[in-house]
Amino acid sequence: MTELLAARARQVIRTGEGETGIECEKQSVAGSVSQRACTFCGSRVVLYPIADAVHLVHGPIGCAVYTWDIRGALSSGPELHRLSFSTDLRERHVVFGGEQQLEASLVELIERHHPKAAFVYATCIVGVIGDDVSAICRQVSERYGIPVVPVQSEGFQGSKKQGYDAACEALMSLIGTADASDVGPHTVNLLGDFNLAGEIWIITEYLKKMGVEVVANLTGDGRVDDIRKAHGAGLNLVQCSGSTTRLAMQMQAAYGIPFKKISYFGIDDMAAALYAVAEHFKDPEMLQRTRELVSAEIAEILPVIEECRRDLEGKRAAIYVGGAFKAISLVKALRLLGMKTVLAGSQTGTRDDYEYLTELCDPGTVIVDDSNPAELSAFLSEGKADLFIGGVKERPLAYKLGVAFCDHNHERKLPLEGFIGMANFAREVRASVCSPVWQFAPRHQNSEPQTLEV
């Protein structure tokens, strides 16, 4: 077996070998080439798509640059979120504090753009230099009469997950601050969908056809005023469970809104999500409409799936994504295309997620938490993968090994959610797996059982 960082041995298991109880939710090993991001990244991801708020990164310039317009979280209206605002802290602020800088920046932004709210992200050094971000936010909020929300997202607090929590807290502070008496019963909030490539619009359209209205998109194409009355909705739909389950639980406790964890990837999971909604509202007509919708949508994409399946049958796929919930949907979607999963891993999965993954996958599949490039490339070669599904850092790794690639992260350019998304996914996978370039490109030149090539 591929040599592992010794301390990570229990973060990798193989299905069918009686191994269970993967270790996860651990801090990355110091000195590892981890693929993971940090707390700030997690907060920024969740709140970023609120398009009519200003997002001010309080700290030295880097954090603001690396999160500037890199996510295709589309907005149907304002695009304030796509600009990069930073207090650009300099040495003098490190010595004397950055509070004045923060306040002046907020004032300038609010006076120029008249946003509905402002989020202030405290990055690595803000706490250390002693800035009282909450106090400044409170003052400015009082002065301008809009919510100014501090997000405690210092990178060292942990991985993305801690950042998700900080973001959920920020959202929670907005929810319930507006009148929701006009919100009807058959209504939902969408949580954990980032509207990448316009995916939320697809889902909203399905719901509309069923007779369900969306009150607030909390994490994609979001609007402050919608979020403020999100507490009026009848149901919360939680995708990307890692990021927003906690928020859903808090909303349940505070406002009694039930939630369902769903996924919009793949035919099975997409249909299951819509049925879950219809069943929840216990409206037979809605259920009927849902059935019609699902069968019409499936009928439309089935020919595409079948056509792609002919080219993909028997091919082998590896998955390494942010959250394990997505990995689960992907394993199923790949099956539909006749493909076998040889590696399934994530940066931030929970024990429950991994247990489910282990059950779902064929024997011999490698299940991995918080991996690194050397490990991934070894597993890819060992499993003779034809396709790798991952994010920005994984893409060149796959290509160097001669393996096809599909970005299932925030750099995807086509919607992959919904039924139409499954068709897009099938086409994209086929396009990469069947690219004529592979006839010229050597593959898995180090596929023998091996130790890492270093």
Binding site: G31, G62, A104, G155, A374, N446, L452
Partner: protein, 460 residues
């Protein structure tokens, strides 16, 4: 997206909008990749390392390896010594690099970790194997910019490796060896600089050298440490060079000074050789230091001049806006001036008032808006007030180019939405031919697009 930019320009003191720079550590990471079998090491939170790797990957379309100390809450209070010791242990046992190049982040700087002291401790604990090296550079994110981080790591290479010479008389020189610090440029540029210098008959020690590291061929393998990079032996022998040529005042100067301090190797501080004038000066110094300007080099230069003669009427009087890293922007400004264009807006995000002085010197009476430590919000406002025919800069210019509907040529770092820069140079005569052609394409494509039918001509 940029409809949020007002035309009216107001004084701003605190806020940075749409930056034209980023933080030091990413520059240090890129520089460290240019040492053979070196693993860059980010001493801070894991997110920094992840961001820097992703960003470099987007530009180079290559895997970028770097390790992190993965700070926790505890480290932010008690210091990062345990993390760095643990990290070094992990790195040497798992990834066996020859060199680990540690850079700091805003967090480890603020809490005041003393890297040499911790590395000393690592030595005492025998964490660093025999014959392996740990070097470091301080790269506080709240000082300078990514360019300064790059420069700091280059300087550290000289500090740690260049063999000290006690007095100028004790110096042994290899009269064929020239040291070159290429600056924060693409691997294609480093290759081209080497080719030009070698064409004069000299032997080149280039540091750092990321060619062969972040421009590798597809082989079916992921090689953790590719073939490229300056070797430790080369760095140790920097003192033998007849001179050290620092290309770019911001990115390279300090490293050359350091080699001079340690080993009495004279420094030659030059502009980045982009365009005719700057490339001429580069070759002139190579000649002065013992190189020979061959017929072949003269031919190359002649071809470039010929191309410009053929096309100068299209460039003449065109207004251009240029932004990016200071060494790039100044060299590009000179090149545009020499093409007969008018650089009306010139901006860098990196601090340093020398930038303004140099830009003014290059442009003389024609100088327009010039700013260091600026951002793209300012650049956009300038362009709204005085429109241009062409925009030159990194990918972040695309928002402005679209909002104002101006032709845009991508040059500099980062380029996140096009390819070619890693493989085809911008420096030297060949680079100038490519750059001038791309600029001309952009201008003429626009002319063709906008021409009324009766003025749309086949031959231009």
């Amino acid at each position: 997206m940029l409809n949020h930019t007002p035309t009216e320009i107001a004084e701003r003191s605190a806020l940075r909008i749409n930056p034209a720079k980023t933080c030091q550590p990413i520059g240090a990471m890129y520089a460290a990749l240019g040492i053979h079998r070196c693993l860059p090491y980010s001493h801070g939170s894991q997110g920094c390392c992840s961001y820097h790797r992703s960003h470099l990957t987007r530009h180079f379309k290559e895997p970028v390896m770097a390790a992190t100390s993965a700070f926790t809450e505890g480290a932010s209070v008690f210091g990062g010594q345990p993390n760095l010791l643990e990290g070094l242990k992990t790195v040497f046992t798992t990834y066996s690099p020859d060199v680990v190049a540690v850079h700091t982040t805003c967090l480890s700087e603020t809490i005041g970790d003393d890297i040499p002291q911790i590395v000393g401790e690592a030595k005492r604990q025998e964490i660093i194997p025999e014959g392996k090296y740990v070097i470091h550079a301080n790269t506080p994110s709240y000082v300078g910019s990514h360019v300064v981080g790059f420069a700091n790591m280059c300087t550290s290479m000289a500090t740690y490796f260049a063999k000290e010479v006690k007095s100028p008389r004790r110096r042994t020189t290899d009269k064929h060896q020239i040291n070159i610090v290429p600056g924060f440029v693409d691997p294609s540029d480093m290759r081209e600089l080497r080719r030009l210098a070698e064409a004069t008959g000299l032997k080149v020690t280039m540091f750092p050298d990321t060619s062969g590291v972040v421009d590798t061929p597809q082989t079916g393998k992921h090689i953790f440490y590719p073939e490229g990079g300056t070797t430790v032996t080369e760095l140790q022998n920097l003192g033998r060079g007849v001179a050290t040529m620092a290309l770019g005042w911001w990115a390279s100067r300090d490293a050359a000074i350091e080699v001079e301090k340690k080993a009495y190797v004279p420094r030659e501080i030059l502009d980045l050789p982009i365009g005719i004038g700057a490339t001429d000066r580069f070759l002139k110094i190579l000649k002065f230091r013992g190189g020979e300007i061959t017929k072949e080099l003269e031919r190359e230069r002649g071809q470039l001049v010929d191309l410009i003669v053929d096309t100068q009427q299209h460039f003449h009087g065109k207004k251009v806006a240029i932004f990016g890293d200071p060494d790039h922007v100044l060299a590009l400004t000179e090149f545009c001036r020499d093409l007969g264009m008018v650089p009306v807006h010139v901006l860098t995000g990196t601090p340093g008032k020398r930038f303004g002085e140099e830009a003014n010197r290059i442009l003389g009476a024609k100088a327009g808006n010039i700013k260091f430590e600026g951002d793209l919000f300012t650049m956009h406002q300038w362009i709204k007030n005085e429109p241009v025919d062409l925009l030159l800069g990194n990918t972040y210019g695309k928002h402005i180019a679209r909002a104002q509907d101006i032709p845009f040529v991508r040059v500099g770092w980062p380029i996140l939405d096009r390819v070619g820069h890693s493989l085809m140079p911008t420096v030297g005569y060949a680079g100038a031919i490519r750059l001038a052609s791309r600029m001309l394409d952009a201008l003429l494509d626009r002319r063709d697009r906008d021409a009324p039918e009766h003025q749309f001509e086949l031959v231009l």
